[in-house]
């Protein structure tokens, strides 16, 4: 998402990413990040929690308005409660890359280096 953000910002829009992996988003040098400790698939809030979702989005936009330095990161004060840590955030079946690496473990270094093996090229 960071690369997409860079491209859209460069095209003349003010952008911010609401990220639950701010270290990764920041690593690609993006203009603005609102960091939030919500799980994958729930970055903007829990289902049915209208007030919580509104607070997260409002805080993200307020951060964007206040930031004046490229590379700014605002850590938002919202996190998944510990009591909900057993929420099932997993897909119904393993992602294709996980199955592929299980069958071809010698390609794990490629995945870690983000180097697509020649024979898998699109």
């Amino acid at each position: 998402m960071g690369l997409v953000q860079r491209q859209i910002e460069a095209a003349g829009f003010s952008t911010i990413t609401l990220s639950n992996i701010p270290d990764l988003t920041a690593a690609v040098s993006v203009p603005r990040i609102a960091a939030i400790e919500y799980p994958f698939g729930l970055t903007a809030g829990l289902p049915g929690d209208d007030a919580g979702q509104r607070a997260a989005l409002g805080a993200t936009l307020a951060a964007l308005q206040e930031m004046s330095t490229p590379g700014s990161v605002r850590h938002l004060p919202f996190a998944l409660p510990e009591a909900m840590s057993d929420l099932n955030i997993h897909p119904p079946e393993s992602p294709p890359i996980a199955k592929y690496i299980a069958r071809h473990p010698w390609y794990l270094p490629n995945l870690l280096r983000r180097e697509v093996p020649y024979q898998a090229a699109s």
């Binding site: 998402m1 829009f13 003010s14 809030g45 509104r54 308005q65 897909p91 794990l108 697509v116």
Partner: protein, 170 residues
């Protein structure tokens, strides 16, 4: 005084996923950061949202999940437009790396369009743009996404005179 702790980027990452993200972070080097200053107050701005959850209207062409099943290093690089009045009943979730059930119950978990329309009603933003956007965020080969889909999204953002874009990865 409100004390905000730093977000733990690794709280929800286990095993190989955690290793992979740490490794990918280590591959990056700092580079020049693009910057477009906010040209006017937020309450005069048009705001659009982008989700990488692979959301499409049920009436729209589905994302092709077979692309990723055939080549697990890649995914369907296309994008879909999600109108501002869209609800969870109107969409399907095509990202293969998340539990789609939450978004299928409440689209605002990934693309908070209803919350954005509320912020328009309360006067916090100028307006919620007519169109919002989604693509599948997972790929090790982002070239077609970046060279084809994102320029097309940028064209639509310009057509709708959007000022601010909030990106929501999953």
């Amino acid at each position: 005084m409100q004390v905000t702790q730093e977000v733990d980027s690794y709280r929800f990452l286990k095993g190989i996923s955690r290793r992979m993200i740490k490794s990918w972070i280590s591959l990056e080097k700092p580079r020049a950061i693009p910057w477009t200053p906010l040209g006017k107050p937020l309450d005069q701005c048009s705001v659009a949202l982008i989700s990488s959850a692979g959301l499409a209207l049920a009436t729209d062409k589905p994302f092709d999940q077979e692309v990723e099943r055939q080549n697990p290093w890649f995914s369907d690089p296309s994008f879909r437009v999600i109108p501002r009045d869209t609800t969870a009943e109107d969409i399907r979730v095509y990202h293969l790396h998340i539990n789609p059930d939450f978004i299928q119950q409440d689209i605002n978990c990934a693309l908070p369009v209803k919350r954005l329309v509320e912020l328009e009603a309360s006067g916090d933003i100028g307006c919620a743009a007519p169109s919002h956007y989604s693509f599948i965020g997972y790929t090790c080969q982002p070239e077609r996404l970046l060279d084809e889909s994102i320029p097309a999204i940028i064209g639509k953002l310009r057509e709708e005179t959007v000022d601010v874009v909030v990106l929501v990865p999953v």
